[in-house]
């Protein structure tokens, strides 16, 4: 006698421990297997783009902190690059080096969070996550020295950075860079060759290079699929054209490769920071721009960076007023989410959570 079964629909989220914020997935299961996925988001919508139309150009920097709240430095950088293009100005050399350096520090912090939560989704009891937090805490301490804040930094300004480094920053950074390899090594030792991590992630939810390009994904998710595409190399901004680093590329685009690419990028970021520390020279850190300025009417600019999650870009259009007429944000997490359906259908519930973790989305950025 055949047993009568029927598919079951579950709302995973918006309150769920593994949705990385307030994200909802309507999933239809056949037993453990996924038949249908529909991502629903907008629970964290704060109207950043609209708010930006009511603020002056310098005030908007604080709004960008709250987009991807684990990598505010890079958000600041993308916005400031867009405004500088709008005005047609270049920041001083020291500011360029400083921006590059803190952006890489922020990338390490962001990737550590991404890896930590990904491994927690795999079921580790937070041990690798806490290892990552230990390192991230030190990075936040460094940021606190620079600008007094730890998460919502507002360190950069159009035309440079907020202020020069305090004298005790450099020894602290030196110290941190010495401790970094061993701390990252501990995480790698714990998980990279772990048999359970391998069987749970290798070959799971692969993203083909074609699909990755067609869905316009970017960042580590794209590179894990075997496409070496990095805006720091393609269109160098700030000091990236003068530093030497490699772009880690995955082979299969599966969960393991996405995780592996992030792990390798931490090492490459460390390389960049070392070079910045070597090349940075004293000098001014900020252009003498007024606090409130009016760009040319009709001027438009597109500033993009390789953020920790992918390509982050700001499109600015000025009508000659003190605030932009339009400020459009191209957020990598939102675009990367568009592949969820291709990645999840046919896999199991446990894989779904891990795959979502491997995309490393941040809801602050998805909903803006």
């Amino acid at each position: 006698m055949p047993i009568h079964t029927e598919p079951m629909t579950i709302n995973v989220g918006p309150q769920h421990p593994s949705t990385h914020g307030v994200f909802r997935l309507r999933v239809t299961f056949d037993g453990e297997e996924i038949l249908e996925v529909e991502p629903v988001f907008g629970y964290l919508h704060r109207g950043t783009e609209k708010l930006a139309e009511e603020r002056t150009y310098v005030q908007i920097v604080t709004l960008t902190d709250r987009l991807d709240y684990v990598s505010s430095m890079i958000n600041n950088q993308a916005y400031c690059l867009a405004v500088e293009k709008l005005l047609g100005v270049e920041p001083p050399l020291r500011a360029k080096w400083l921006r590059t350096m803190v952006a890489e520090l922020q990338r390490i912090a962001s990737h550590l969070m991404g890896i930590g939560f990904y491994l927690q989704d795999l079921g580790t009891l937070g041990t690798p996550l806490m290892y990552g937090f230990r390192t991230r805490e030190k990075i936040l301490d460094l940021f606190e020295m620079l600008c007094g804040a730890r998460i919502t930094l507002t360190y950069m300004r159009p035309g440079g950075v907020f202020s020069d480094t305090p004298p005790d920053f450099w020894p602290a950074l030196e110290n941190f860079m010495q401790e970094l390899p061993s701390e990252i090594g501990e995480i790698e030792q714990l998980v990279m060759e772990n048999e359970i991590v391998l069987v749970r992630t290798k070959g799971v939810s692969p993203l083909s290079p074609d699909m990755a390009i067609n869905c316009s994904v970017s960042g580590p998710v794209l590179r894990a699929s075997g496409i070496a595409w990095d805006w720091r190399k393609m269109e160098p901004y700030d000091a990236y054209e003068w530093v030497d680093f490699d772009v880690p590329v995955g082979a299969n685009g599966d969960n393991y490769d996405r995780f592996w690419v992030r792990m390798q990028e931490i090492h490459q970021s460390a390389r960049i920071i070392h070079q910045c520390m070597e090349h940075i020279e004293p000098g001014p850190v900020r252009l003498d721009l007024p606090l409130v300025f009016r760009p040319e009417p009709g001027a438009e600019a597109y500033g993009r960076v390789e953020a920790s999650k992918g390509e982050l870009a700001f499109y600015m259009l000025s009508d000659g007023g003190v605030s932009p007429y339009r400020c459009k944000i191209r957020s990598p997490s939102l675009i990367n989410l568009t592949v969820t359906e291709h990645l999840l259908v046919g896999w199991k519930l446990a894989d779904m959570i891990v795959t979502l973790g491997s995309l490393d989305i941040n809801m602050g950025e998805v909903d803006r």
Binding site: G126, R200, V249, L349, A350
Partner: protein, 406 residues
């Protein structure tokens, strides 16, 4: 009135029971003293399990704190030892919510049914010489029977909650429990054959060499099976926090949640006690017999530490991999162990059917070699099964120049 227990009573070998029975029996009728002695035993058992759970919770939270590079709870009492009591107190004062659509009676009964196996299991464990609360002659069978009850409790909790996550968790939990029961039963048969008895006290007496060495394969299978039955990582699919919110106990709050937690952590303590009794020589240790308690608790602490250590280290397996691990890896291992032990016992025992210490040493040698070989062989075979064929290890780094696309 004076009641004297006849020596052929099943509880005659239980000094605590006999003492209370005869003490109460001096003033009250025998049937009342029979009940009273039972109540005293139950009181001791319930409190032992709850206290064990409290100590274990404290140890686990502190140790996992250390594994995590943080301090762990240290505010209440010396070194934070009162933390479990503070937790329980908090849970007692919380609102006890029953979902509107829940099956109320089953919902209420499930936490109690969940705690029962842990308490019942403890009754037959000998803490020291002659101190088992009930020295049953079928102790091992009794333990297996009682642990199977927990699958019913998990299904009750998941079904009555009327929550889809809970149902998911319950379905997974029951599947895991039923699958892992099979290798656990088979590997314990090896122990029974070597000891020649199902009574736990006899098993301890038979361990001239700890069965850790005589039955290494059985210990491995038993530890894996027990951590699956206790829902500990890497086998905690039934409550998989990151996937199913809290699995079968998603809807529980307040006192019922406290009971489920007590059952879970108390279960680890009692399971550690069973492992110690069956494989690590129970109360046996150097110095005097009355120090048995100390050796026993020391060994239980060591086994519980292993459970905590594993929990802090490993990720979780997927449900199909978990099933494959039970049926394709643990089951063959336990069958091999069963046959090997049967043959060894058949050829080595003397005319009275007793194994001398030299025979045990011979078995140790054979079984250690067999265990290492089998785990290596089956481990490589299951790795081939699980590993996807499409994966090629070709990831590397690319040095890009501007404008170049690979």
């Amino acid at each position: 009135m004076s009641c004297v227990m006849s020596p052929d009573n099943v509880l005659y070998g239980t000094p605590v029971y006999r003492f209370v029975y005869e003490l109460v029996g001096t003033v009250l009728p025998c049937w009342i003293s029979y009940v009273a002695a039972g109540l005293v035993i139950m009181f001791i058992l319930v409190n032992a399990v709850l206290m064990g759970a409290a100590v274990f919770v404290f140890a686990e939270r502190r140790l996992i704190g250390r594994f995590h590079n943080r301090i762990g709870p240290n505010r209440w009492g010396p070194f934070g030892t009162f933390q479990p009591f503070a937790d329980v107190l908090k849970l007692i004062f919380k609102e006890d919510i029953t979902p509107a659509a829940a099956d109320k009676i089953v919902f209420l009964a499930a936490p109690i049914a969940m705690l029962a196996p842990a308490i019942l299991m403890l009754a037959v464990v000998p803490f020291a010489k002659n101190t088992a609360l009930a020295d049953l002659n079928v102790g091992i069978l009794y333990i297996l029977a009682v642990t199977s009850l927990s699958s019913v409790a998990i299904l009750m909790a998941g079904w009555s909650s009327n929550n889809r996550y809970a149902m998911f968790g319950a379905a997974r939990g029951v599947a895991v429990l039923i699958s892992y029961e099979v290798p656990v039963v088979l590997c314990l048969l090896g122990v029974v054959m070597v000891a020649g008895s199902m009574s736990l006290a006899d098993v301890v007496e038979a361990q001239a060499i700890p069965f850790l060495l005589v039955q290494p394969l059985a210990l491995f299978v038993f530890l894996a099976g027990v951590s699956a039955e206790l829902n500990r990582t890497p086998f905690d699919v039934a409550e998989a926090e990151s996937e199913l919110v809290a699995g079968y106990h998603t809807e529980y709050s307040g006192v019922k949640f406290a009971l489920i937690q007590a059952a879970e952590f108390g279960g680890v303590v009692t399971a550690s006690m069973v492992v110690v009794t069956l494989f690590l020589g129970g109360w046996a240790g150097p110095l005097a017999d009355y120090l048995g308690w100390f050796w026993f608790l020391l060994k239980v602490g060591a086994v519980a530490f292993i459970f905590i250590w594993v929990r802090a280290t490993y990720p979780r397996l997927r449900i199909d991999q978990l099933m494959a691990f039970a049926w394709k890896f643990l089951l063959p291992l336990s069958i091999i162990n069963l046959f090997a032990t049967a043959l060894e016992v058949f050829f080595l025992r003397d005319s009275q059917g007793v194994l001398a210490i030299n025979d045990l040493w011979i078995m140790t040698g054979i079984n250690l070699a067999l265990g290492a070989g089998c785990i290596a062989l089956f481990g490589s075979m299951i790795r081939e099964k699980i590993k996807p064929v499409t994966w090629q290890p070709a990831a590397g780094t690319a040095s890009l120049t501007v404008g170049e696309v690979t």
